[in-house]
């Protein structure tokens, strides 16, 4: 069975972060940026050299992506569902869950990813199908109404948000799997973004922190099942949990002491992050810079 980890990794940073930021900068021309970003990603994956990641970069990137993905996950849970539950408890449960998932052995890990991939694709296709009748075609207009600089910035954001976690957390020797995972993951993000704009309109997508959740809220089954959005939110949760677990795997922790130390560090760091709106806002706006730095570090050959 092929390793599907890259599919989840390439999508995880878009939930609550990437889609809103790109649409905010590029408006209804977001699709051009996203396609450009996808092409840039494919070119990078084709030309990337294998075995050039150093140990320190692997640990750093693993810690970084676990922190960011679990921060998004717990912040989302706290905002949308459990706003009275102390953040520390939410984070502790998320870190514990991630640690347990990441300790699964290689074959079981692949099987788990395969099952989650199938469920995720099923939920994705069902949600997209149920939303088709909510589409307002004119919401995508005007098709071309943005400056070239904004378009390129949007493309760079899409590229960084999709490619950086993929390269940093995956085995880059198996390029074919990597590219297939990348294209399937990013295409699904483009489709979700397109549907978000077609259903909600640019203003709502930009206004809400979680436009994807707002989109799922609009799903109705035969006019009487109207609260099915919670089922489809599983798509976000899978992506974020798998990326968090992939980050821990990337750190390759061996001893119990290192596990405990990293887990405690993660719990307190993520809790501190999500308890301060100013920090989460900074993550929203400055994440591209961090990702760019991390991507450069990842691409620098080890022996130089």
């Amino acid at each position: 069975m092929k390793n599907k980890q890259g599919f989840f990794n390439s999508r995880s940073l878009f939930w609550g972060l990437g889609i809103g930021l790109i649409v905010d900068k590029v408006g209804t021309s977001f699709w051009i940026s996203m396609i450009l970003g996808l092409l840039m990603g494919v070119i990078t994956l084709v030309f990337i050299r294998s075995k050039n990641k150093s140990k320190i970069v692997e640990v750093l990137s693993g810690f970084f992506f676990t922190t960011i993905s679990l921060a998004i996950l717990t912040f989302m849970s706290s905002t949308l569902y459990l706003n009275e539950t102390p953040d520390l408890i939410l984070v502790a449960v998320a870190v514990l869950g991630c640690a347990i998932i990441s300790s699964i052995r290689s074959n079981s890990w692949k099987s788990l990813l395969g099952i989650l991939f199938s469920v995720s694709i099923f939920l994705f296709l069902t949600s997209q199908g149920l939303l088709l009748k909510e589409i307002v075609p004119n919401n995508i207009l005007p098709l071309f109404n943005t400056k070239l600089s904004s378009l390129l910035y949007g493309a760079l954001v899409f590229y960084l948000y999709s490619v950086t976690p993929l390269i940093a957390l995956n085995d880059i020797e198996d390029k074919k799997t990597l590219i297939i995972n990348y294209i399937s993951g990013t295409l699904s993000i483009i489709l979700i973004s397109l549907l978000s704009i077609l259903v909600l309109g640019v203003n709502e997508v930009v206004m809400y922190r979680y436009p994807e959740y707002g989109l799922l809220k609009r799903i109705k089954v035969f006019e009487f099942f109207s609260n099915v959005d919670n089922v489809f939110v599983m798509i976000f949760i899978f992506d974020l949990l798998i990326t968090g677990a992939s980050g821990l795997k990337n750190m390759n922790l061996k001893s119990k002491l290192s596990w405990v130390t990293v887990s405690i560090l993660l719990v307190f760091l993520i809790t501190y992050l999500i308890e301060h709106a100013i920090l989460m806002t900074a993550v929203y706006y400055y994440l591209p810079l961090f990702l760019l730095a991390l991507l450069i570090l990842t691409l620098i050959p080890k022996n130089r």
Binding site: N83, E84, G97, N138, L141, N203, E204
Partner: protein
């Protein structure tokens, strides 16, 4: 060990931290908001869920310097935890609509508990609602929402919109209509439609304008055209063709004859004449609505935003006023009802 830890975590740490028992939830069906002397006064209509209730709902009042402060103030009533997820409508007093309309956007959009698809109404008689007695199992919110939806779909000469729609229009600099609501002899009365421009109440608009706004926004299923003869227009479609210097409206649909006042039989030639007159009448209705919009200087039918969508670099705030408008109507009479000719025609032929 790990499995036990995970099992315990799932059981003990998640989910029910902030639970409220079902019978402790006070389900809010509507909110009535007034603004008097720099203070928000809210009345929450709460569903009466007890078995022996004589009324379907009751009101709880709160006051505050901010809207959220006033909503929070309602909790002072003993044992009161409002639950907003089933809210149907929000009624604003004219004072509130005139002075503080914009304040509803941020607080309602930001709040995760409040749903965004409730209907907005304006009233000039707040007191009438506070003495409204709904039947057991019903509420003011349910009745007003259902009545408004039916009226908009099946009559069209009244227009109001959902909160989400109003917020979107506000963000897009589009004008919109909100309907009036009043209580008369324990009945809900929906009558006027108010025009809001930049979320400021501008004026009350005629029924014909509300109808055109509903048709333009595809909210209406069928509507009547009155004149010498009366028709019901159904299965219709309105498409806007946006060109650089003009907007072309193409309206097509089917008409059902409801009432014919001519004294002659309805021959094939008569039907052609009737169809032509009907098309001209509908064309006139559109053009009069556009003229009315121009006269009061407000883009009620949202042409400027449509123009922006096609020509974003050419659009200015008043572009819609300077465009030419062409209306093409293609309505065919498809049904004549139970009688072949007009009653007057049948009598004359005898």
């Amino acid at each position: 060990m790990k499995k036990i830890l995970l099992f315990l975590a799932v059981l003990l740490l998640t989910g029910c931290y902030d639970y409220v028992e079902l019978d402790e939830l006070k389900i809010v069906s509507s909110i009535i908001i007034d603004y008097q002397e720099d203070e928000y006064i809210v009345n929450l209509e709460v569903l009466n869920t007890s078995k022996n209730a004589k009324q379907g709902s009751y009101f709880v009042e709160g006051k505050g310097k901010t809207l959220m402060g006033a909503l929070d103030d309602t909790k002072k009533s003993a044992d009161f935890e409002p639950y907003y997820s089933h809210m149907n409508i929000v009624i604003l007093s004219e004072d509130m609509a005139n002075e503080k309309f914009e304040s509803i956007y941020d607080c309602f959009l930001r709040n995760i508990e409040i749903r965004k698809d409730f209907y907005l109404f304006i009233t000039d008689d707040i007191e009438g609602f506070l003495t409204f007695e709904s039947e057991p199992g019903k509420s003011l919110g349910d009745i007003a929402k259902e009545t408004a939806i039916k009226l908009i779909k099946n009559n069209g000469k009244y227009r109001t919109c959902q909160f989400r729609e109003a917020a979107n229009n506000y963000l897009r600099d589009k004008d919109f209509l909100l309907g009036s609501i009043n209580v008369h002899d324990e009945n809900i009365l929906l009558k006027n439609s108010y025009l809001f421009s930049d979320s400021k109440l501008v004026s009350n608009v005629p029924e014909e304008i509300a109808l055109m706004a509903n048709i333009k926004n595809q909210k209406n299923n069928y509507f009547q055209v009155d004149g010498n003869d009366t028709y019901e227009i159904h299965e219709y479609k309105l498409e806007s063709g946006i060109e650089k210097d003009k907007i072309v409206l193409n309206f097509s649909g089917k008409a059902r004859v409801l009432d014919v006042q001519t004294g002659s039989a309805i021959t094939t030639e008569d039907l052609k004449t009737m169809e032509k007159a009907l098309c001209e009448k509908i064309e006139k209705m559109f053009l009069e609505s556009i003229d009315y919009s121009k006269k009061i200087g407000t883009d009620i039918l949202g042409f400027n935003y449509e123009y922006y969508q096609r020509y974003p670099k050419l659009v200015k705030d008043d572009t819609w006023k300077n465009l030419k408008y062409e209306v093409n109507v293609d309505v065919s009479i498809s049904e004549k009802g139970m009688i072949m000719d007009s009653v007057g025609g049948i009598k004359n032929e005898k």
